[in-house]
């Protein structure tokens, strides 16, 4: 790393932009002397990190999909359905590891269906996953009997439980899981042949195909892998609500897409980074947390988050124009 190549430099800059954004947002809330003593504490950042876990894990899958030139609108429904699957299995008395595994696999199954339609039938991912958004949401309500699935206390609840409310450590297990998955995915995206193929696919699908990349197989793998992340997020949601809720996470897909876009990915595919997406997810969580604590009304939060998304895309446009 002593002599970074030009591409490494660009990548560094791409990640640096979102980092500046994150520091700026933290700085804005810290500027208020009344809020600072509460906002800038380990305890508060533990809460922010915990609140980021679900969006962050989903963003891992979504980054993969968006970089490959696709989109997935069924994320929120997938999280709801897999959380109901998990809760139902707990009620049925399945052991904890099996519940975790099946919840993740349920997500993978949804992803496989999406991938099969996108790759096998050459359908537009926007439409396919829009359909899946309805199918999975309906299936979740059906499976849950149109109500929440409540179970007696389970060790799964511990994954996202906050302990020691006055300090940063220990972080809930869910935060560590998200960090570990992010590190693995960052390596996969940058260092593996598969990761490079995902970028190639998003940058120019035809060129990728002509250079011998098995486009359809890759799409199938990408959507299935992303589905596994959505299932994992479903497990986290289950743990957080301590119940399976078929109406949870409505509109989550928009938060996830926003995180990925704020993180520097382009919706036209071929660019984006795991680190950027993680910071994008953090920026939104910090905005929510900070506006709560500053006593800003809810509508201000919505307006500000909207503006941040538009700014992020504008910055991306400028960057591309300069590069082009």
């Amino acid at each position: 790393m002593s002599h970074p190549s030009p591409t490494q430099l660009t990548r560094l800059l791409n990640v640096f932009g979102p980092v500046l954004g994150l520091l700026f947002v933290i700085g804005v809330f810290s500027a208020n002397p009344e809020v600072r003593p509460y906002f800038l504490t380990g305890a508060n950042f533990k809460i922010i990190l915990t609140q980021t876990v679900i969006v962050a894990i989903c963003a891992l899958g979504m980054t993969l999909i968006i970089v490959s030139g696709g989109i997935d609108l069924s994320v929120g429904s997938a999280v709801a359905l897999t959380s109901v699957v998990g809760a139902t299995l707990i009620v049925k008395g399945w052991p904890v590891p099996a519940v975790g595994l099946m919840t993740v696999l349920a997500g993978a199954a949804l992803g496989l269906l999406n991938g099969a339609a996108v790759a096998g039938l050459r359908m537009m991912p926007f439409i396919v996953t829009l359909g899946m958004m309805g199918v999975a949401r309906g299936a979740a309500k059906w499976m849950a009997g149109n109500q929440t699935v409540n179970y007696p206390n389970s060790p799964i609840n511990q994954i996202m439980t906050l302990t020691a409310p006055r300090q940063l450590l220990p972080l809930p297990a869910g935060v560590w899981v998200a960090i570990a998955l992010a590190v693995v995915m960052a390596v996969v995206m940058r260092q593996t042949v598969f990761g490079r193929h995902v970028f190639a696919l998003g940058a120019n699908e035809l060129a990728a195909q002509l250079s011998g990349i098995r486009v359809r197989l890759h799409k199938l793998i990408i959507y299935t892998l992303a589905g596994m992340f959505f299932g994992m997020a479903g497990l986290m949601q289950l743990s957080r609500l301590t119940q399976g809720d078929p109406t949870v996470a409505i509109g989550l897909e928009l938060d996830v897409i926003a995180a990925v876009v704020i993180g520097g990915a382009s919706l036209s595919g071929g660019s984006g980074s795991i680190a950027g997406s993680m910071i994008g997810a953090l920026i939104m969580a910090v905005l929510r947390n900070g506006s709560n604590q500053s006593g800003w009304p809810t509508y201000m939060q919505e307006i500000i988050i909207g503006i941040v998304i538009i700014l992020a895309v504008a910055v991306d446009r400028l960057r591309q124009r300069r590069a082009g």
């Binding site: 520091l23 933290i26 700085g27 810290s30 809020v35 600072r36 509460y38 906002f39 800038l40 504490t41 380990g42 305890a43 508060n44 950042f45 809460i47 915990t50 609140q51 679900i54 149109n146 109500q147 929440t148 409540n150 609840n157 439980t161 906050l162 409310p165 006055r166 300090q167 940063l168 949601q237 957080r240 609500l241 301590t242 119940q243 809720d245 109406t247 949870v248 996470a249 409505i250 509109g251 929510r288 947390n289 709560n292 604590q293 006593g295 809810t298 939060q301 919505e302």
Partner: protein, 329 residues
């Protein structure tokens, strides 16, 4: 920016010292967390909280109020986030209307563990970690609605219950009270009680239309357990020409539109809570607890049946038109 970062890093590792009750000149910070902020009901709660704040200020007790609903109306996860964020804000106490009796139990237990007392209002919580539960006796409200409907129908006819949403303890108690009381009237038959209106007026309107499309010709009486189901149900009844009392309707809560429907004769009765008293009693109970005074574990804020006959009485008018402007400017 560098100084900010340094503070942040320092703060991450620091264990913050226990903050006791603030000194007399420092205001008590109290967060009031409703289920949403757009329903008129919650605005009355807000007014009640401000009323308590003003009365306490007159006694020399300063209160700083944070009024904050979930970012997405009726989203459990977002309400959990609000509770957590106020926990690290180190407010002196919270007054919370939980969106779900189970999902909010862990965050409330967490706040209690962090030494922040929580008063629950409006909807029950499956927990014993709260200071007090300030609410309408919702079951009683459902019973009152059923008795009134039975009287309107002379004990004979087919009845529809349009439910509100799963997991909302307050409306579920009303629905249970309504159905239990109807059973005492063998001439009344429940022809539908398994449909849910959902979070918004739009979803409830669709559910009401669909129900009336199926049962419109055989139904004689309808009960809707809250504002967001009652208003669309009355509208759907008007749409099919069954307004004006041809189908008897009893609603819950006193939204502006519901009161108009009552006056116009499309609604024959409204079971009305006292949200202003709820906000008031919630804050007052919390402050009493913070001062170390004993408080009741359950505070009932009462229900009243409002009909076209009694709606002009002064005390009913105060319920129907809470003096919001006086408190919320």
């Amino acid at each position: 920016m560098r100084a900010t970062l340094l503070r942040w890093l320092l703060g991450m590792g620091l264990v913050f010292p226990l903050a006791g009750l603030p000194a007399a000149d420092k205001p008590l910070k109290i967060a009031v967390i409703p289920k949403g902020t757009t329903h008129e009901f919650w605005k009355s709660v807000h007014a009640g909280a401000v009323k308590a704040q003003r009365e306490l200020a007159a006694q020399g007790v300063k209160i700083e109020l944070f009024w904050k609903g979930p970012l997405k109306e009726d989203d459990r996860d977002q309400q959990i986030q609000v509770v957590e964020n106020f926990m690290t804000r180190r407010v002196d106490g919270m007054v919370l209307a939980p969106l779900d009796s189970q999902a909010l139990a862990a965050p409330v237990a967490n706040a209690a563990k962090a030494g922040i007392p929580v008063v629950i209002f409006d909807s029950d919580l499956k927990s014993d970690q709260y200071v007090s539960f300030v609410a309408t006796d919702n079951y009683q409200g459902g019973c009152l609605a059923a008795e009134h409907l039975a009287k309107l129908l002379n004990g004979q006819g087919n009845v529809i219950l349009l439910r509100y949403a799963v997991g909302s303890a307050s409306t579920e108690a009303r629905e249970a009270g309504f159905l239990d009381t109807l059973r005492k009237h063998p001439g009344l038959k429940v022809i539908s009680s398994d449909q849910y209106g959902g979070a918004t007026r739009e979803t409830a309107y669709q559910a009401a239309q669909n129900l009336l499309n199926r049962y419109g010709r055989e139904v004689h009486g309808v009960f809707a357990p809250n504002e967001s189901t009652a208003i669309p149900m009355a509208k759907a009844l008007r749409d099919i020409g069954q307004g004006g009392g041809r189908v008897k309707m009893v609603g819950f809560d006193a939204g502006t539109q519901s009161v108009q429907d009552l006056r116009a004769g499309d609604v024959q009765g409204l079971v009305v809570q006292n949200p202003l008293r709820m906000g008031y009693a919630g804050v007052m109970t919390l402050v009493r607890h913070l001062r170390g005074e004993p408080v009741a574990k359950r505070v009932d804020t009462g229900v009243t049946l409002v009909t076209a006959e009694n709606m002009e009485q002064a005390e009913i008018q105060a319920l129907l038109h809470p003096p919001l402007d006086q408190y919320l400017k």
